[in-house]
């Protein structure tokens, strides 16, 4: 195989280094062009996300792997001493396994995250559109995307929420179902509130208000996400409209009292309300949990749910890996089949060139023969060559497994020196 991967990710590099090594669409295309024109790479895909920058390629016969590994820091003008072992490179089987694990979310910071599959797909699409891919990377990326899709649909790896905010949204869906007909009120404008707003928006909630004691903060958050800002003083009056109440305010005293909730629930005619108290100390009076049709969850509860989900996701890893192994075997079988045809073609070229040279060397011995006889000798030797190639070609095609096939190809290439510089 001639597949190579060079890159760095969240495990090997700091955020600062990852930022420096990141590619956007334009720089990815430029890097891809450079690699193909000056670095003997035949096919290239650049995958760049906030957690990784990786270059996948198929290198030519004359490519220098060390030089390819040096390309990434060189392209971004990162001095080698700053890399400090952050850069990794993988070849063939290891590179393939790495890509499959990336596409399945097994190599992500958040195990089983969903976004990475879309990012792999997008990186491949861009490379394919710009003509940077060929048969090998086309097949490799399509197989990896298929594997990632299977892992998502056939395992629980990505099914459970992994942050307090997303766990809260899933709880809301457990009570209300589709959120498109429901409203949520978020108290606070910090990082947690931001995550909650983002999650609720993604799930298509009908209406979302943000309220903070600092009016400007609420307005800024509301503007950033295109939701409504609510004046803090009006919060208690609007409480009854909220099907979901989320509070992540930094306050020594509860900001939502039992009395406020009693009033709100009465006004709501006891329609269910979910309250997510993400503040420390608590923002919602604890005895409110006894209210009828009022479901109160604290940050600790959500953290516990997330922890259970993390354990459950980790339990799914062997199942995901089994799927990846199946898909990788399919790819390798395809690659081996392709390699067999290439090896036989190379052998044919090598032997045919030898045949011609032998005929030329002994041309004088056939000088007394007419052109028709010489033509016949040429045809006979060519037919003899084809006859000799039939058996190895057939054995390669009908190898018991792709592993046998790869082994036979390697033996053939080694015996006849098909990978050496001298093609004669």
């Amino acid at each position: 195989m001639r597949i190579v991967l060079v890159g760095l990710n969240h495990r090997t590099a700091s955020v600062a280094l990852r930022e420096r090594a990141a590619f956007n669409a334009e720089t990815a295309e430029r890097a891809s062009k450079e690699l193909r024109s000056h670095w003997q790479m035949e096919e290239v895909v650049v995958l760049s996300t906030c957690n990784r920058s990786e270059i996948y390629g198929v290198y030519g016969q004359d490519a220098e792997l060390g030089a390819i590994e040096a390309f990434l820091p060189q392209f971004h003008s990162i001095p080698p001493e700053q890399l400090n072992g952050s850069l990794y490179s993988r070849r063939d089987g290891e590179a393939i396994l790495h890509l499959f694990r990336v596409a399945a979310g097994l190599d992500s910071m958040l195990l089983g995250e969903a976004e990475i599959l879309g990012q792999v797909r997008e990186a491949y699409r861009r490379a394919a559109d710009s003509g940077a891919t060929g048969p090998i990377l086309n097949r490799l990326f399509q197989s990896a995307i298929e594997a990632g899709r299977r892992v998502r649909s056939e395992t629980e790896l990505g099914a459970r929420p992994m942050s307090a905010a997303s766990a809260g949204v899933r709880l809301a869906e457990r009570i209300f179902g589709n959120l498109e007909a429901h409203e949520a009120l978020v108290l606070g404008a910090g990082e947690m509130a931001e995550q909650v707003v983002e999650n609720f928006r993604q799930r298509g909630i009908k209406r979302l208000w943000v309220s903070s004691r600092t009016r400007e903060h609420a307005a800024a958050l509301a503007e950033r996400f295109g939701v409504e800002a609510l004046v803090w003083e009006e919060m208690s009056r609007e409480l009854a409209r909220a099907d979901v109440l989320v509070s992540s305010v930094s306050s020594p005293e509860p900001v939502v009292t039992h009395a406020m909730l009693v009033e709100a629930m009465a006004e709501r005619k006891n329609r269910s309300m979910l309250a997510l108290d993400l503040g420390v100390p608590r923002n919602i009076e604890a005895d409110s949990s006894s209210l009828y049709n009022f479901y109160l969850y604290h940050l600790d509860d959500l953290t516990e749910i997330v922890e259970q989900n993390r354990i459950a996701r980790e339990r799914e890893v062997p199942r995901a890996e089994a799927i990846l192994n199946t898909q990788i075997s399919k790819f390798e079988a395809w690659y081996a089949g392709r390699g067999a045809a290439d090896a036989v073609d190379d052998l044919r070229l090598r032997l045919d060139s030898r045949r011609r040279r032998v005929l030329e060397t002994h041309a004088e011995a056939f000088a007394h023969l007419g052109p028709e006889d010489r033509e016949k000798i040429d045809q006979l030797t060519a037919e003899l060559l084809e006859e000799l190639l039939k058996a190895p070609s057939s054995r390669l095609r009908h190898a018991r497994s792709w592993r046998d096939r790869v082994q036979q190809i390697e033996t053939l290439r080694g015996l006849f020196g098909l990978d050496s510089e001298d093609k004669s």
Partner: protein
């Protein structure tokens, strides 16, 4: 003797149950759709199994207890399928199908009534009985949905702990709102069927016997049931009754229905002359 349609129906119901359980655990939409398709096919075949049985006993399915149970299972599955398609909520199938399968098994494999001729009572009577069975199937489904609601409500109110949040199916359970709406839908089907069934029964009695016996315990029980479920429908969408209390009311009402009918059928069956 169960015929080929019974075996096909059983196979389809079992396949549907397996797929519904798989859907509950995997959450794959395609699995849910296959489960629904298997149930729909099972219903189709169940109809022919009922027909097959009727040919064998030369009577309508409700003429004996086992036939009635099979008919009840068929109608229960039919109402559930209708509600599932309307509310797009296949995760309840895993709870409904065991009941349907048990009813079908008892109806088709237990008791082998000898072929006998039954008294010709006409189409009105057939509709009266079928609609009444449909009504009770609707109430039974509402009972099941309300029970799941209560379990789900209890589950959501418990503090999260490793044991109660580990099961993947927990994340696939239908939402409380959906369960409540489905239960109300099921009760509505039951009420409409019961009113129509009782009305036809009274009309049939008047038409054939030229009298209406309002003191019949079954008629009286029916009126009580109508009042209770009517009250449930009215209260379940209002203030203090909304939610778990309404679900509990629905579940208890069904238990009351079962209890009162057991009493009526065992001790007072002579009053309802056509059983």
């Amino acid at each position: 003797m169960p015929g080929p349609w019974s075996y096909i129906t059983l196979a389809l119901y079992l396949a549907s149950l397996g797929l519904y359980v798989a859907f509950l655990y995997s959450g794959r939409r395609l699995t849910g759709r296959f489960a629904t398709a298997a149930l729909a096919l099972g219903l189709f075949c169940h109809y022919f199994a009922l027909l097959e049985r009727s040919h064998w006993v030369r009577s309508v399915p409700y003429d004996d207890l086992y036939g009635s149970l099979s008919l009840f299972g068929w109608l229960l599955a039919a109402i559930y399928l209708g509600l599932e398609l309307y509310y797009h909520q296949p995760s309840i199938g895993a709870f409904v199908l065991p009941g349907v399968i048990i009813l079908f098994l008892i109806g088709s494999w237990s008791g082998h009534p000898a072929p006998a001729t039954s008294q010709e009572r006409g189409a009105l009577f057939a509709f009266h009985v079928t609609l009444s069975v449909l009504a009770y199937a609707g109430f039974a489904l509402a009972f099941l949905l309300s029970t799941v609601y209560l379990l789900q409500d209890r589950y959501l109110r418990r503090r999260p702990s490793p044991a109660n949040w580990r099961c993947p199916a927990i994340w696939r359970f239908p939402p409380l709102d959906g369960l409540e709406r489905m239960a109300r839908g099921s009760v509505r089907v039951g009420l409409v069927a019961l009113v129509a069934g009782a009305g036809l029964g009274i009309y049939w009695e008047h038409h054939t016997q030229h009298e209406i016996l309002l003191t019949d315990p079954k008629v009286l029980t029916t009126l009580v049931i109508l009042a209770l479920y009517g009250g449930y429908l009215r209260l379940s969408s209002r203030g203090v009754w909304r939610g778990a209390r309404a679900a509990l009311m629905c579940a208890l009402t069904f238990l009351l229905v079962i209890f009162s009918y057991a009493v009526v059928n065992v001790y007072l069956s002579q009053f309802h002359r056509f059983l």
